[in-house]
Amino acid sequence: MKCFSRYLPYLFRPPSTILSSSCHAEADIISTVEFNHTGELLATGDKGGRVVIFQREQESKQQPQRRGEYNVYSTFQSHEPEFDYLKSLEIEEKINKIRWLPQHNAACFLLSTNDKTVKLWKVSERDKRPEGYNLKDEDGRLRDPSMITTLRVPVLRPMDLMVEATPRRVFANAHTYHINSISVNSDYETYMSADDLRINLWNFEITNQSFNIVDIKPANMEELTEVITAAEFHPHHCNTFVYSSSKGTIRLCDMRASALCDRHAKFFEEPEDPSNRSFFSEIISSISDVKFSHSGRYVMTRDYLTVKVWDLNMENRPMETYQVHDYLRSKLCSLYENDCIFDKFECVWNGSDSVIMTGSYNNFFRMFDRNTKRDVTLEASRENSKPRAILKPRKVCVGGKRRKDEISVDSLDFSKKILHTAWHPSENIIAVAATNNLYIFQDKVN
């Protein structure tokens, strides 16, 4: 794959990381990564409830080789830990998802959510301030009116850029279960939030009400065998959305059909392959992420071992299936025991929908070119990535003779997992979250 042969790695860390590279603060673990619609801003959320926004440097004519690095733009505390008194359980402040709203004016808006509450944040810049008030002096102290002899008109003078984030809306108390997804509708007036059993539709302006559009909670909770794992609005059709389940199915719903979209318009499920059946077939079929393509024609799903691309017009099987780390198939029992089998990997499209990317273990992440059918495994690690170094493709050897530079399955570090990645909407820039480190790689084209 020509365009991914060379990469320019950068390394970013949240400010409060512990210095040692072997251990890290739990709160610094990155839990979500998302570019905004232009790609100028990159937001990350972490387990400590913080949001860090990076902004791309303007390209300068003087230094054309420094093609727009990302620097920290704003940091704020989005969610705080809470306590549910009824159940005597803590509510984590971990940011599960961030979604940007399209930008209409100078300020940017994003939605961030933890398990229970969604918040709309406004991020705005301030680079001018008024000077020359009559009734107060520059420090803000009130002037004695009797001392004022002349009147002046305050003027705006430039100041150091200040970026401030303010919570504009708080959408709370609508979810009994843990929110796993939020998705902004293409009408930009509504958005949905999905938890394990229900999906709610919100209007941005209204925080004390939401519409319930999907409810799969059974009357008898003991009959519960399936939960919602992810949901997303269609990028162009504001009435269409999909949601995935823990049984490996995708349902496409049309909100025009009824107020409560319990009956799907389309149902996507691949029949089970009998030769691959095991005790863990159901668990590994559970879909951890679902993403529409930018075109809106396809939807991509990630389950434990594969990434699948579905054509919206074909419900009985996916169009393409890509093996992410099939060598783990023989290790499923151990992965079940250490809970790794429940890891929720995300997947992303590139801007042109020709390449898909997803993470794996040992800080590996994989890219699949849908046109050439070629794939590559890359590693996000400090040791292997010096600035301006080229990322070397990695290979996992399954058995037999291990070649040099290959890594054997048993040497994989399952604590280093890449769950969250993001792709710039138009350029070949990717953001990869490896535990508490954020790597940004660019395609180096000179």
């Binding site: 005597s88 909770m221 065998t225 005790f279 559970s286 151990s334 079940y336």
Partner: protein, 328 residues
């Protein structure tokens, strides 16, 4: 748990030699594509299934989070446990069972055999204590007999299912042979039937007739959704605030007491010795474990642990019958 898993492994993995560690044992199992119908690998299939079953139970019971556990994870683990349970039930329903209420000796064996699928993980050990628990009076014992009823009902249901996910149940003959001889000896020692066994036998008959057993807890699902028996004995609520009702107890109740009682027991005590040391050891451990078990599970229970009474009565029955058996 690590300790006792390695013993059956050493027993069945002929030719491997030496004691194997848990990890090796696991990888050895997973590496195979085991089909339940093969001869020798069928045993490893059973072992693998048991390993997974135990892991699943531990996940549900040992998890004490400060935050709410993930519902998705819980549902997936529950589904796994239910599937294994149904497989075991199917295997149990297909084995030859002597269903005669008139013969005093056989009902004991029947309930023993009926309990067999639930305890297949204790493959190497004679399940006398389990047997004796089910021998307790019906009204006093919430767990075994009523759930044997559910067993029968559910078995008949699952047999009707199309169940593409169900693997053909193996004939566990080689495993059972070791029990048959133990069984005969038990039957010789303990001839008197109890009401529980009679009910169990009736349950067997019901299973054969595929009668619609009116049970408040079982829900008829014509679509073929796997049975989930509600917990009429809501003994344990391992998922505080999660499923809102005691979900996982539904499938656990028929296995619960004995399964968990002996889950942690070192298998070295269960070396197959017909009727003597194993039973003595097990019976001594049983009363202690049950109490401890109830204590540990009490915090999880959203309802008062009322079955304490029946359990205590079970244990006195247990002691009594053990005395009879051991002849002391």
């Amino acid at each position: 748990m690590l300790k006792w898993c390695s013993e059956p492994c050493a027993r069945y993995m002929l030719g491997k030699g030496g004691k194997r560690k848990f990890d090796e044992h696991e990888d050895g199992l997973e590496g195979k594509v085991v089909s339940p119908t093969d001869g020798p690998s069928k045993v490893s299939y059973t072992l693998q299934r048991q390993t997974i079953f135990n892991i699943s139970l531990m996940k549900l019971y040992n998890h004490r989070p400060l935050t709410e556990p993930s519902l998705q994870k819980t549902v997936l683990i529950n589904n796994m446990l239910r599937r294994i349970q149904e497989e075991l039930k199917q295997e149990g329903s297909l084995r030859p069972v002597f269903v005669t209420a008139s013969q005093p000796a056989d009902p004991l064996g029947d309930s023993f055999r009926e309990a067999q699928p639930a305890f297949s993980h204790l493959a190497a050990q004679p399940l006398l204590p389990a047997d004796l628990v089910s021998a307790a009076p019906l009204e006093a014992c919430l767990t075994p007999a009523s759930l044997l009823e559910d067993d029968a009902f559910c078995t008949s249901q699952t047999v009707q299912h199309d169940g593409p996910t169900k693997l053909p149940p193996p004939a566990l003959q080689p495993v059972k042979d070791s029990f048959s001889s133990a069984l005969d000896e038990i039957e010789e020692l303990c001839p008197a039937p109890t009401s529980a066994e009679a009910v169990a036998v009736a349950a067997e008959t019901a299973a054969d007739d595929s009668k619609d057993h009116p049970s408040e807890s079982s829900v008829q699902r014509p679509e073929g959704v796997p049975e989930s028996r509600t917990a009429e004995p809501k003994l344990m609520d391992p998922l505080p605030g999660n499923f809102e009702i005691t979900t996982s107890t539904g499938f656990l109740t028929d296995l619960t007491l004995d399964d968990i009682l002996f889950a942690d027991i070192d298998t070295s005590m269960y070396d197959f010795d017909p009727c003597t040391s194993a039973t003595g050891a097990a019976s001594k451990m049983a009363p202690v474990s049950a109490d401890e078990l109830l204590k540990t599970l009490a915090p999880y229970s959203s309802q008062p642990v009322t079955p304490n009474q029946p359990f205590k009565m079970d244990l006195t029955e247990l002691d009594h019958i053990m005395e009879v058996l051991v002849g002391s």
